[in-house]
């Protein structure tokens, strides 16, 4: 099947040209002005984040809009949202590598970079939510003078192990994949500073046959581990909800629903970044319209799978026959927060249907707008899942309402700075598209063309 596919990269480019084009980006950075504007804007957001965190740590989580019964809100909501976005980077990179889908070689580097910082943004939220974040180390089993250990049977404890494992494995996978490209950039560098920078970071990579053999073994093994890791991490995240008895959360569909929704939102953000990067660095020869076409299809497919989760959730509630479960469904579609439910439907699934048409998948503008809509839709979905399950507690006397206030928003908007600043620095300093892997695909395609 993979053999008979049409080429994804134009064949009339040489291996040397591709190397020079990609290694040039950090060495002779093309869009200094636009990059600086983007960086300054992101710095502003990061400053907002820093200020908000200082205020939060000084005054406590009481500055947020959370209350009883809605004691979980933006912190968990955005944690799930950011982590979900991160998962698509791993899936694109690892799953498609194992399946021999070579089109991923143009996308994997920035998708993995996106994963890294999305996980950072996600991981910071539970820490902020702790109330007393300086006691973070209580999550780890250390021989405390109090003689107690962490509660290993709690999903809240599973969480820190899952997220830290995911962050570490993503970082290792990203760096192992990057080493040969750092070597290539080192060999292209003319200035001493860049030579030292890439020379040290490439660890002296020389492309020896035996090194490549071990590198491939390690890289593919990491990929094979990363795929089940993604599934386990987001399943574990869903258990933060599903393991409790709250109506609207306590459902067996949750792990699958969360993993698919995560992939959905993540592929949307990968598409946005792909479109931005290819126009910013004039990489239309490597991130082609065919790539956008495939991304559009994947987005549509994961979107429809997420839609199945919506259907099943309602079925599940009625099938259970439980009055409170059914009431939660009514609260979702017609309650005080119905706008989040219908907003999620609109932004996730209605605009998405345009992707059935080829022109929409191949139009950067259309795909970018649809992807943005999906990112918003999935954000609303997480909001809906959280708030609609909590605001009407079991006892009517405990009912409440939630609205995010200034500090909720300022931290959330600030995390965009936390994501963008390191992301922009990485695309400034490192090859933004995998050099060796792109050449591998290009060579295979050229050989195939030559041999008919």
């Amino acid at each position: 099947m993979a053999m008979s596919e049409a080429p994804i990269l134009p064949r009339d480019q040489s291996l040397g040209d591709v190397t020079d084009q990609l290694a040039r980006i950090p060495l002779h950075f093309p869009t200094r002005r636009r990059w600086l504007i983007a960086l300054s804007f992101s710095m502003l957001l990061l400053t907002l984040f820093a200020v908000s965190v200082v205020v939060l740590f000084t005054r406590g989580v009481g500055i947020w809009g959370i209350n009883i019964p809605v004691n979980w809100a933006f912190a968990i909501h955005n944690y799930v949202w950011w982590l979900g976005i991160g998962h698509a980077g791993t899936l694109i990179s690892a799953l498609l590598l194992l399946m021999g889908r070579e089109w991923r070689n143009s996308l994997n580097r920035f998708a993995e970079t996106m994963t890294l910082f999305a996980v950072v943004c996600a991981g910071i939220y539970p820490v902020l939510h702790l109330g007393r974040p300086w006691y973070l180390y209580w999550m780890f089993p250390y021989p405390a003078t109090m003689g107690v250990w962490p509660q290993f049977r709690s999903p809240l404890e599973w969480d820190i192990w899952a997220v830290l494992t995911y962050l570490t494995v993503s970082l290792v996978f990203w760096y192992v994949g990057l080493i040969p490209d750092l070597g290539a950039a080192r060999d292209r560098a003319r200035q001493r500073g860049w030579q030292v920078f890439f020379g040290v970071l490439s660890l002296g990579w020389r492309g020896s046959a035996v090194h490549w053999l071990r590198w491939q073994q390690a890289y593919r093994l990491l990929a094979a581990l990363a795929v089940p890791l993604v599934v386990s991490v987001h399943s574990e995240v869903s258990l933060l909800f599903a393991a409790g008895t709250i109506p609207g959360w306590h459902s067996t569909i949750f792990p699958a629903y969360f993993v698919l929704g995560a992939a959905f939102s993540g592929f949307a953000v990968v598409s946005m970044i792909a479109i931005a990067i290819r126009s910013l660095f004039s990489l239309k020869n490597l991130v082609t319209d065919d790539h956008l076409d495939i991304l559009g299809k994947v987005l549509l497919a994961t979107g429809l799978m997420t839609g199945y989760g919506y259907v099943f959730e309602i079925f599940d509630a009625f099938y259970s026959g439980e009055a409170h479960e059914i009431q939660t469904v009514y609260d979702r579609v017609a309650g005080a927060y119905a706008w989040t439910y219908w907003g999620a439907i609109l932004f996730n699934f209605v605009f998405l249907q345009l992707l059935w048409w080829r022109w929409a998948r191949r139009s950067p503008l259309a795909l970018f707008l649809i992807s943005t809509s999906v990112a918003i839709g999935m954000w609303l979905e997480r909001y809906m899942i959280l708030v609609t399950s909590l605001y009407r507690d079991f006892l009517v006397s405990s009912w409440g309402a939630y609205a995010p206030n200034f500090w909720d928003w300022s931290i959330y908007i600030g995390t965009f700075g936390l994501f963008l600043v390191p992301f922009l620095l990485i695309i400034r300093l490192f090859p933004v598209i995998a050099i060796s892997e792109t050449k591998e695909v290009l060579h295979e395609e050229q050989t195939e063309a030559a041999n008919g």
């Binding site: 040489s14 291996l15 040397g16 190397t19 020079d20 089993p141 003689g147 107690v148 250990w149 962490p150 509660q151 290993f152 049977r153 404890e157 599973w158 192990w161 899952a162 494992t165 570490t168 494995v169 290792v172 996978f173 192992v176 040969p180 070597g183 290539a184 080192r186 060999d187 292209r188 020379g199 040290v200 660890l203 002296g204 020389r206 492309g207 020896s208 046959a209 035996v210 090194h211 490549w212 053999l213 071990r214 590198w215 491939q216 073994q217 390690a218 093994l221 990491l222 581990l225 089940p228 890791l229 386990s232 991490v233 574990e236 258990l239 060796s436 050449k439 591998e440 060579h443 050989t447």
Partner: protein, 177 residues
Amino acid sequence: MADPRPYGLLAEFETPEALLEAAQRAREDGYRDLDAFTPFPVHDLAEILEIRDTRVLWLGFAGGCFGFALALAMQIGSNWDYPLDVGGRPVYALSAFAVIAFELTVLFAALFPAIGMLALNGLPRLNYPVFAASRFHLASRDRFFLCIKAGDARFDAEETTQFLSRIGARSVELVPA
């Protein structure tokens, strides 16, 4: 002033196919101490050079076992040391321990081979004799190099150079040690 014991001879080829053919002929001619330098992993090259090494994969397996054992030991051990009885639920709840056991299995199954790959490759090692070759910077661009090391029993600076030119090398360079 030539070094009495050079590192070896570096021959340049323009395509992976040419490199594979040259490596094959070098093997057939009796050369054994060979290496190749390529911009991306070349299929079949390791087989022709008869490089077999599965230690990285075994390290992955060992890492997985280690992580799994560590996770179970940590969770069972801490509950043995201070049993947390919550409503009479099992203290050694293996189904609840499964998540962290899985995560740590993956963590160490990833860390062992990644670090092991670097260690087995002798990296980081920032300098290496082949970097001195004048055209070696192309090994990360679009050229494919075959190296016959001086340690090879059949190595002879003159003869081996001629041999490499004969089998189609675009350039041949003696690499000092």
